[in-house]
Amino acid sequence: MFCREQAVQLHRELPAIRKKGAGLVFIGNGNANFAKGFKDEFEIEAPVYVDSRRKTYEALGFSRSPFSFISVGATKAAARALGAGFRQGLTQGDAFQLGGVLVVDGKGEVLFRHASQHAGDHPPVKDVLAAL
């Protein structure tokens, strides 16, 4: 549900991202079949990559915790996502893994970083766009 919410919200901004001369990619920790289903279901035009072993998550300090969806923040995020019409699908990957967002320029400089602290902890889209 949270992944769907984040992907759809950011993907809606793909024209604005491209207008600023930037790109958008998604990385998930399920397998390629999960990724293809995800891409098709949500009509994701941006490239989607798979990190089944979660090596990039680990290298970038994105947390993994069985308590990631048991918190006040996660409960509020669930209410927000449900209110926006998003529903939980089958978990296709590691349910305990948290994600994050980086904006990186062509030289590898990090212009923006957000590491989720709990399930549904996504940065405001306007903050991501402001980094471009």
């Binding site: 930037a22 998930g28 399920g30 293809k36 990190d51 990957g93 967002v101």
Partner: protein
Amino acid sequence: MKVDADAAKATVLDLDGKAHELRELWKDGTTVLVWLRHFG
């Protein structure tokens, strides 16, 4: 601050199964990279 060098060399797979170092994903310019919790 640059992306950690080891992280930049970590690999992800495209949907055809081809491996890409993370740094390849921003080689063409500024890129928003979104790590999803999972694909569900």
